[in-house]
Amino acid sequence: MPKGALLAVPATVVYGTLFVAPLAFFLVVSFWHASLFEIIPGFSLDNYVKTVTTYPRSIVFTLTIGLSIAALTTLIAFGFAYVIRFKAGRYGPVLLFMALVTLFGGYLVKIYAWKTILGIDGILNSALLGLGLISEPIDLLLYSSFAVVITLTHYLLPLAILPIYGALRGIDDLEVASARDLGASSSRVMCDIILPQAYFGIIAAFAFAYLISAGDYVTPRLVGGTETRMIGNFIESQFGMRMNTPLGAAMSFTTLVLSALVIVAVGTIFRLFLRRR
């Protein structure tokens, strides 16, 4: 055993028994099947077949709305991190501070805040009515895909800013100066110098935003409508009403694998875009 390996023991125990083992067990369970009030070990792909045949629309909807949320979040986060690193000068730390302060604040609290803002009698509508900008309340604000996208983007944004800012911070100002000296325009500096070096930060932020939103069920339940039922809602109901853990597990892994595929695809397209230049 290498010297100092004892230091790794506590964290590895936590990681192994509370993360790796439960997920591995969950994976195994996804091949079992549930009968009335108990689950029976075995090996069958039934749950996976059931997942894709019973919930195809909701899976596609989840993957699509996840893509809009993750894309929007990453785009705004990149812009904001870019401002902090390259444009804001001495105000940069203040902006970073703003992002960090809103890192937490309660997941449910944030969703609830948006519910009160976007509701038909909500803050936004009543403010717009009061200002005379609209004559009828807009009822599409809440209980819609729009509300889900806004709410999750708000929740994920501070967390997406951090890895991107971390990557941008690693870029030397001199590299930007050198590129300009060699004749690069601002857009070429962006594509040749900044984006390639921020690649992993951007992909990390995108993957994080995608996976968390694809696996969410509270947001669509509280601010989404009937047409915005995401796969998470059905996974949660396997726990809630039906106690069908094997099916819930199979749905979870299906979502994870499909999300991972989307992320890899996006990462590859982004990389190809950068290399083409």
Partner: protein, 258 residues
């Protein structure tokens, strides 16, 4: 940069800042509003919702549970995470980086999946649900944060000091407490506060692993599902103050400059 570009960046930045902060500020504002509905005009200012919440025993038991969970999670994950960061530091970068990524993996898994998987494992091994099962569950997502914060700090640590301490005859444990810990103390405290804030922030994993009983976040969940009760604004404000407060202190002690 032309004036138009400058103005464009300014407007964009302003919008993002408002987008990030306004919802939380509005919630705090409406916790003082007289009206039962959270709409404009909000009516006069009142502390009556606060009085109601303060007199409400469920709130205090949820608060006590949250305090236990966040406090324990902060303490335990700080110890395990700091030790692991010290371990990573002894490894070559080509091993340390993949391990860091692997140990950060729980942050990428949706809380729903972590919560559900943990619940079925707890059930399988017959582990009783309660505050302890919530604390264990939260360690999974807070430990990576501690490792990241402390490891980053240790990377900037001058190891000539450790050599000097060894030269003076100090043994490893003594070196840790007399040389390393005093230097990284602020980062460790900051990491502990972030871990506690993250624990307080979580709802989904708590909901799956708590069994009976309430923490502040599951209490809000109950309030959200039953009535539109302006008390939510008060409890929400309370959570915002706690988490933002902890984050502020954490930023201050770590002297975070980005």
């Amino acid at each position: 940069m032309t004036t138009v570009q400058r103005a464009g960046w300014f407007v964009f930045t302003l919008c993002v800042v408002v987008f990030l902060i306004a919802p939380l500020l509005l919630l705090v504002l409406f916790s003082f509003g007289e009206n039962r509905l959270t709409t404009f005009p909000m009516g006069g200012l009142t502390l009556s919702w606060y009085e109601k919440v303060i007199d409400w025993s469920s709130f205090w038991s949820a608060f006590e549970n949250s305090a236990w969970v966040s406090g324990s999670v902060g303490a335990v994950s700080t110890i395990t995470g700091t030790l692991f960061a010290l371990f990573l530091l002894r490894m070559r970068a080509r091993w340390a980086v993949p391990m860091l990524i692997a140990f950060s993996f729980p942050l990428m898994i949706p809380p729903l999946v972590i919560g559900f998987a943990l619940l079925s494992s707890y059930t399988q091994v017959g582990f009783d649900l309660g505050l302890l099962s919530v604390i264990f569950a939260h360690l999974v997502i807070t430990q990576p944060f501690v490792i990241l914060v402390v490891y980053t700090r240790l990377l900037g640590f001058d190891f000539a000091m450790v050599d000097a301490a060894r030269d003076c005859g100090a043994r490893p444990v003594r070196i840790f407490f007399t040389v390393i810990l005093p230097q990284i103390r602020n980062s460790v405290i900051g990491a502990a506060l972030i871990a506690a804030a993250l624990s307080l922030d979580d709802f989904i994993i708590t909901f799956f692993t708590i069994g009976g009983g309430n923490t502040l976040s599951t209490l809000i969940w109950g309030m959200l599902r039953t009535t539109i009760d302006p008390g939510i604004n008060v409890v929400g404000t309370f959570i915002i103050l706690l988490t933002v407060g902890m984050t502020l202190v954490a930023l201050w002690v770590t002297r975070y400059r980005g």
